[in-house]
């Protein structure tokens, strides 16, 4: 009888594509890519069983830099595309990547409802508090007093608090990482992937071109001084009162994920076409 040879252990390099990133040298997204590939090596699912879905923006280029299946979608619609994919192919590990503009502004509504639906996937947001790809406009997470020529004196608008929104909307796992801590961030991403339901990982990823002052983040981030909780009320108090620089797993809940079923994608093309007949 033939026996299948055991699969060789996969390393982080097995999850990188041959394409070299074109981010600005020094960008935090480089180490986020490294963290993602290290996390996938920890999970040990082969690249063809993983799909990385993104929207538009600097960080949304990540799918091309991995060897996994990738989908570089429409601005703000990564979660919608990923939800469809995961429901149709629940056997895949689905990871969604993007930035704060794509995820919280253009895709803000999808973000809330993805948390609410709790489909089993992992959403990684590289948050640099700015639209970097379009040259430095204020984003939903920009501080209200960030002064620049495009918003003199700052926008004066209260910053969006994605972790609180995620918790209130029903995300089943919430973590915060920092690009300057690639190994710690890899561990959080691996935990997020393994956790059932919708996992949300915000990663502080400095934009060295338009927000060079964010280089100072490495002096102020620190490991969250508390263990993760499964109590949403306690998590809410912690997340509401921290200063945005506590990193680690902040909430790991027990909601049942949306019950996607294997087999839904097995209908024939003719059957699908009939649904579109007028």
């Amino acid at each position: 009888m033939n026996e299948l040879a055991p699969l060789a252990t996969l390393g982080a390099a097995d999850f990188k594509s041959a394409y070299k990133p074109i981010w600005c040298p020094g960008c935090g997204d480089y180490t986020v890519l490294s963290s993602l590939t290290k996390a996938l090596a920890t999970i040990q699912r082969p690249p063809h069983e993983v799909a990385v879905v993104s929207g538009i923006g600097c960080s949304s280029r990540i799918p091309a830099y991995t060897s996994c299946y990738g989908f570089h979608g429409v601005h703000g619609r990564a979660l919608a595309a990923a939800t469809g994919l995961k429901v149709a192919r629940p056997d895949l590990t689905v990871i969604v990547t993007g930035g704060d503009g794509d995820g919280y502004s253009i895709g803000g509504n999808h973000f809330m409802h993805a948390c609410r639906r709790n489909v089993d996937m992992t959403y990684i947001v590289m948050d640099n508090h700015v639209y970097g790809m379009t040259k430095g406009q204020a984003s939903p997470t920009t501080e209200p007093d960030w002064d620049n020529k495009l918003s003199p004196g700052g926008t004066g608008i209260r910053a969006f608090h994605p972790l609180v929104i995620a918790l209130a909307a029903g995300a089943n796992f919430i973590g915060r990482g920092f690009s300057g801590d690639p190994n710690g961030t890899a561990a959080i991403i691996a935990q997020a992937i393994r956790h059932p339901g919708f996992s949300f990982v915000e990663i502080l990823s400095p934009c060295i071109t338009f927000r060079p002052e964010q280089k100072g983040w490495k002096e102020i981030v620190r490991a969250a001084p508390v263990d993760p909780t499964d109590d949403p009320a306690l998590a809410a108090r912690r997340i509401m009162t921290d200063d945005g620089f506590n990193i680690g797993v902040l909430y790991a809940g027990h909601r049942n994920p949306y019950p996607a079923r294997v087999g839904l994608a097995e209908r024939s093309v003719a059957e699908l076409e009939r649904e579109f007949e007028l």
């Binding site: 600005c24 040298p25 430095g136 620049n148 300057g180 071109t209 490495k218």
Partner: protein, 171 residues
């Protein structure tokens, strides 16, 4: 520093992880510079990655390892988030010159030298201390080599980062 490794194997695994992280970072830097058409600096970072690869291979051969042992996060004893020998990712610039690259390498080697010295002073295990002192001496040698290399290069021009077509049009 956190608790130093208790055995020679654990210590060498940490030392190997340090070297491997330095290889990854220099490779990352070389790729960044290649993408931004800064060929001289890309080549220099590629060379540094090659040196660190040799150090890593040397440790593997010394220990008779065929694969790098996993180092659980709780056994990582270096200060800060990253290997002392890995230059911080945000300290590169697309117009940087070879001198700047060597400056980063020098700081990395100096951090590694200090780390091994501190570890040697803290450990109570004689074999770990001996190995840490050996590593410290090697890093000190690298510091000297990088300094000698830097002395052969012209220091950067004062306006080295001036870009006639900068990405930041809003300034």
């Amino acid at each position: 520093m956190k608790t130093p490794p208790q055995t020679l194997d654990d210590f060498m695994a940490v030392a190997l992880a340090m070297e491997n992280e330095a290889v990854d970072r220099y490779t990352e830097f070389a790729d960044m510079m290649e993408t931004h058409n800064n060929g001289d600096v890309a080549a220099l970072f590629r060379t540094m990655a090659g040196y660190e690869t040799k150090h890593a291979q040397h440790i593997m051969a010394q220990m008779g390892w065929t694969a790098a042992p996993a180092v659980p996060r709780e056994r990582i004893c270096w200060p800060g988030y990253e290997s002392p020998e890995a230059a911080p990712v945000d300290e590169v610039h697309y117009l940087m010159q070879p001198w700047h690259a060597l400056q980063l390498a020098l700081a990395a080697e100096q951090r590694a030298e200090a780390f091994f010295g501190e570890l040697a002073a803290m450990t109570t295990n004689a074999s770990v201390r001996a190995a840490a002192l050996e590593m410290q001496a090697e890093e000190a040698e690298h510091v000297g080599l990088v300094k000698a290399w830097m002395a052969k290069l012209p220091p950067p021009d004062r306006d080295w980062s001036d870009d006639p077509d900068p990405p930041r049009y809003i300034d």
